[in-house]
């Protein structure tokens, strides 16, 4: 039975194609000049360049972290190219008609049509290709509601006050090694601002695509939800199938001011490498949000790709009565390694957090949950509930749980539940005896296991996520 399941788990990576697009790509290497060049191409103001250089100096003094339960060869940061953009993007296309059709075709092929009429109704998309944003849809419509949704490189010019006020306030330059690197070399990403009391009229989403060889993708996303506002945001990611590893080191900062609510969902499907572990994306990402009084941030992630994942979307519950949530499905197979989880930092009174983590390991993969719940001295009446479930498929994989709990307030309550289970022969046989083939059976059992998390995703994407898991598990293209 294990053999059959493993067969079912082998699969094609359907986003693995390469687009034939002429690009301007920097020579590999990293030094202050490279950073000045990135800044110059983006025509950035002096303050932005200074901020980058400051980050670079900090990064040079830092050491690569080694505490995660993952292993990979040391990265040579001088062998990576830090900027790559389609040539056609050099003179900014004014409208979709001017965008290189090959670029649009790439997104079409990935199932993300950028022509507004063909898009999912009610979803605005920012499409980031290697180092630049290609197009952002529905901007006018959003502007009517006062919502700003644009590439962060544009926001630096158009809304410098907002960017200056919030950039680096949640994830400072010196936060960690990859965050410092990102601060120095970030190229694009999305910027979102929701004005006071506004409910964003559409789902916002950013779709990241790495295409060029040997380039790293360093995007930076900043979302500010002003008092009493509400926004739901989704990001998706894919990359071509290549033998070399590629680095993706992103930073996402969320600011939820008083009574605001941000729902941030990720469907991560970077190229995971082949069965032997050759190639694949190193996904080293820092995501964090800060909640002011009575604000709420909810992270939902479905992680199925990447060779190595190192990612802990976190909430700083600064304001009283604020709420943090983390719902995660992480699927690893083949030789994939994931070390992922969250941090819930309770500072304010009566703050509440919920963590639901579902790890699925198959093949020879390793899947770790790492989470920190910290109750600060002022966190009177704070509560956390954590549930970590691991599902093992086959007998060659590993599931690990590293929960950290720190409580400095006696009235705070922390609950932790953990389970580990296997897809059993009995379950498989029941499904088969009812006429389901083994592939369908595995995907059904896994989907059932993930149900609590999928129901947190926006509806259109819950279907997508279910399909993605099915594709991951079925080994079929469809």
């Amino acid at each position: 039975m294990t053999e059959e399941i493993n067969q079912a788990l082998k699969r094609e990576y359907e986003a693995g194609f390469v687009s034939d697009i002429q690009s301007d790509t920097f020579e590999p290497g990293l030094n202050e000049d490279v950073i000045r060049r990135i800044s110059a191409i983006k025509n950035e103001p002096e303050w932005m360049l200074e901020w980058r250089l400051q980050a670079f100096r900090i990064w040079q003094e830092m050491e690569e972290p080694e505490w995660a339960h993952v292993s990979y060869p040391k990265i040579d940061f001088q062998e990576i190219s830090y900027y790559s953009a389609p040539k056609s993007m050099a003179d900014k296309p004014k409208s979709l008609d001017e965008v290189d059709p090959e670029l649009l075709a790439t997104y079409d092929k990935l199932g993300i049509p950028l022509v507004e009429q063909q898009m999912l109704a009610g979803v605005a998309v920012d499409a980031v290709f290697d180092s630049v944003s290609v197009v952002t849809t529905f901007r006018e419509k959003l502007a009517e509601a006062g919502v700003i949704f644009c590439p962060i490189s544009e926001a630096v010019h158009e809304y410098p006050e907002l960017v200056k006020k919030y950039l680096g306030t949640v994830v400072p330059q010196r936060d960690n090694y990859y965050a410092a690197l990102n601060s120095a070399v970030f190229t694009d990403g999305s910027f979102v601002y929701i004005p006071k009391g506004t409910r964003c009229p559409m789902e916002l989403s950013t779709y990241f695509r790495i295409n060029e060889q040997n380039t790293g993708q360093f995007e930076r996303t900043l979302i500010v939800a002003d008092e009493g506002s509400h926004v739901s945001y989704l990001e998706g990611c894919t990359a071509p199938q290549r033998d070399e590893n590629q680095l993706h080191a992103a930073v996402v900062e969320l600011v939820a001011l008083d009574d605001a609510e941000i729902k941030y969902s990720t469907v991560q499907n970077w190229y995971p490498g082949d069965e032997e572990g050759k190639g694949g994306i190193y996904n080293f990402v820092t995501k964090r949000g800060v909640c002011h009084t009575s604000a709420k941030i909810s992270w939902t992630q479905v992680e199925t790709g990447s060779a190595v994942t190192w990612k802990y979307p976190s909430c700083i519950l600064r304001g009283d009565n604020s709420i943090g949530e983390f719902y995660s499905v992480a699927l690893t197979r083949g030789m994939q390694q994931a070390d992922t989880g969250t941090k819930m930092i309770h500072l304010g009174k009566n703050t509440r957090s919920t963590i639901i983590s579902k790890g699925i390991s198959a093949g020879h993969s390793n899947n770790s949950y790492r989470g920190l719940v910290r109750m600060g001295p002022r966190a009177e009446g704070a509560r956390n509930f954590t549930q970590c479930d691991s599902l093992l498929i086959g007998d060659q994989c590993g599931a690990h749980t590293f929960p950290y709990v720190e409580s400095k307030n006696a009235s705070a309550i922390v609950e932790h539940e953990a389970t580990t289970s296997k897809v059993s022969d009995d379950q498989m046989f029941l499904c088969q005896q009812r006429g389901l083939d083994p592939e369908k059976a595995v995907s059904m059992i896994v989907n059932g296991f993930c149900k609590e998390v999928f129901k947190e995703l926006p509806m259109e994407f819950a279907v997508e996520a279910g399909k993605l898991l099915e594709i991951s598990l079925e080994g079929s293209v469809g």
Partner: protein, 258 residues
């Protein structure tokens, strides 16, 4: 309809079935009785193609189709249904979703379109009622948190929806109180028809009071050692299985002297 000939099968290198013969015609109900360890459950698993059960010799055909050549799911789609003695839970997968996938898999094999969600919901609700399960069981995970009796009734509900040609009920009466037993029996009786056959595996006479078998067989040490009509079940109830041991001892002695 279902023909089992000289079936020898083993689990983990231990031979359990040692020349089982069984011929079942359309519309018949056969009861298989016998002591613990005789191979009753093994028979169900071997016929339905469970992984780990090796067929060493013999043939199993369903309406002329060689079942042993087919995967478990193909046998199911060919019309073979096994009601489990201990139905397993599949958390998070709703009964409704599970059964629709099963029914659609069968329809696909028959070259039919999937049933519409609306139509299926109607069918599933009716099936629920028939086995006295509240309709909200359709929304619950497959067998998740069900009592023993509810699990068994859920199996019968699945049978009602799949409308198989041959049903093997593996001790569907074990652990049931008299009310649940009646529900299970009613479910089975409602499905008796000239083109559907049943194999009822049980330890006890009491299920057979509700499901009247056409034939009763005694399975012992991997083969059928005695067959008769419904009265045989009563005989077994009165005498127990001790006589089997004596018979076996005699058989062994004869073999040795020969």
């Amino acid at each position: 309809m279902l023909s089992i000939k000289n079936l020898h099968a083993s689990v983990e290198d231990k031979t359990i079935l040692k020349g089982l013969d069984l011929e079942i015609k359309p519309g018949e109900v056969h009861a298989i009785m016998g002591p613990n360890g005789a191979g009753k459950s093994t028979m169900g698993y071997v016929v339905s193609g469970r992984e780990g059960y090796e067929v060493e010799e013999g043939a199993v055909t369903l309406n002329g189709v060689d079942l042993l050549e087919l995967e478990a799911e193909e046998r199911a789609r060919a019309g073979l249904f096994l009601a489990f003695q201990y139905p397993v839970e599949i958390p998070g997968v709703s009964n409704l979703e599970f059964m629709k996938a099963a029914v659609d898999a069968q329809r696909e094999a028959d070259g039919e379109e999937p049933v519409s969600s609306k139509d299926f919901l109607k069918l599933a609700r009716e099936a629920c009622k028939q086995v006295h399960l509240p309709v909200d069981f359709l929304k619950r995970g497959v067998n998740e948190g069900f009592s023993g009796g509810e699990k068994k009734r859920n199996e019968i509900m699945q049978m009602l929806l799949l409308k198989p040609k041959v049903c093997i009920l593996d001790e569907s009466d074990s652990g049931l109180d008299i009310d649940a037993l009646q529900v299970v029996a009613e479910g089975v009786n409602s499905q008796r028809s000239p083109d559907r056959s049943f194999i009822v595996v049980t330890h006890y006479q009491r299920l057979l009071d509700h499901i009247k078998p056409d034939f009763v067989h005694v399975l012992s040490d991997g083969k059928i050692v005695k067959s008769g009509d419904a009265s045989l079940a009563q005989e077994l109830e009165d005498q127990g299985y001790a006589w089997l041991k004596e018979q076996r001892a005699v058989g062994a002695a004869q073999e040795q002297s020969a």
